[in-house]
Amino acid sequence: MKSFFTRKRTFAIGIVVAFVAVFLALGLVSHSNSSPPKLQATSTKGAQLPYAAWFWTMVVSPTNPNELLVGTNMGVDRSQNGGKTWKSVGLTTVNVTSLAEVGNAVYAGGVPGANPVIHNTAGRTAPNGAGMLSVSTNDGTAWEALHPSGLPKNTIQALATDPAGALYALLNTGGLYKSTDAAKSFTLVTSKLGISPWALAITKDQQFVSGDMDSGPHTSANAKAWTPTTYTDLAGGKMVMEYAVQPTDATNVLMTSIGVEMSTDGGKSWHTTLNSKVMFGPVAFAPKSPQIAYAVGFDRSIWHSADGGKTWTQVL
């Protein structure tokens, strides 16, 4: 009886097996690189922020990685136990759109009034009004109003710091200003950002990243000319809510959207690290423990990462 495994057939089968093996291997590699992590369902038993009409921004204390400050349309809330419980600590009549840290100083920017967001010609922004800038040097216990020279008294839409410690203030008019003297004075960077003023961060090599809820993330070398980043959020849109730059490595950036995204190249590309149906807002790294990060969902859930934003667990 003639054997089925002739030389030709054995060779052909070998080729097919090799192709299948290569395709399987490629599929596995591709899968591990591009698929978002398993969908994280929010637990209704988890810790919750007090209700507010908008959750804007967050910083972690420079001295205690369990101490968080969150800016809402009704001021600043503080947790001293890693997000488990919260208490209002001031600026309660201010729509606090942004918190930023330089050393031990926490700066709060915004506009008086509780109405959180409007649509204007620049897009979706905080409402127009007399801008407010305050500072706290005791983790939010007390706030001092600042009146820096050179900064127009318009709504502060976002604050950001660069790796060298400069403070930037983005107004809801699109004007961007920079201070290098602890917010005593500001100088104009650009009078028109050129994209909708919403969220802003400065990453490695002074690279600006910015975006809003509708047009997605952008990058710029000078905050004047912007390049859109190839990005689609988990719902098929281009939502950007807030950024956080890792203090020790400014190429690592977190961005909230539907869930949480991470960039390891200073904001040029993004991948999902917290896969969720929920829209997220505030996000921050702990300055002295840069592997620790927190994020807040608009369902008031609080999430913690112990590995620089790569994986997340809900605070219960």
Partner: protein, 91 residues
């Protein structure tokens, strides 16, 4: 601003579309964090003035925007006061 109702959604992009649609129809409306007892699905809801409820439902239907439910719910921007669900109509 005091709101008397919220619309809950299965997905945030539907909430954003709904906000735009209602505002274009000149109905006061705004994205808000969805009260957890109303819907934890996507985190956000759209608040509206309860007297506008029939128009809100009509505008969302006309724009073919999928929503989960319309709730009678008190929200106050100034105080952060939230109410309880008093009536729910599932779409």
């Amino acid at each position: 601003m005091k709101w008397g109702g919220v619309v809950s959604f299965f997905a945030s992009e539907h909430a954003m579309r709904a906000e735009r649609t209602l505002q274009r129809a000149e109905l006061p409306a705004r994205l808000v964090p969805g009260p957890r007892e109303v819907s934890p699905n996507c985190g956000v809801a759209v608040a509206f003035v309860w007297n506008d409820e029939p128009k809100v439902e009509q505008a969302l239907a006309a724009a073919k925007i999928r929503f989960e439910a319309i709730h009678r719910y008190d929200l106050d921007d100034e105080t952060g006061t939230v109410g309880t669900v008093r009536r729910e109509s599932v779409a």
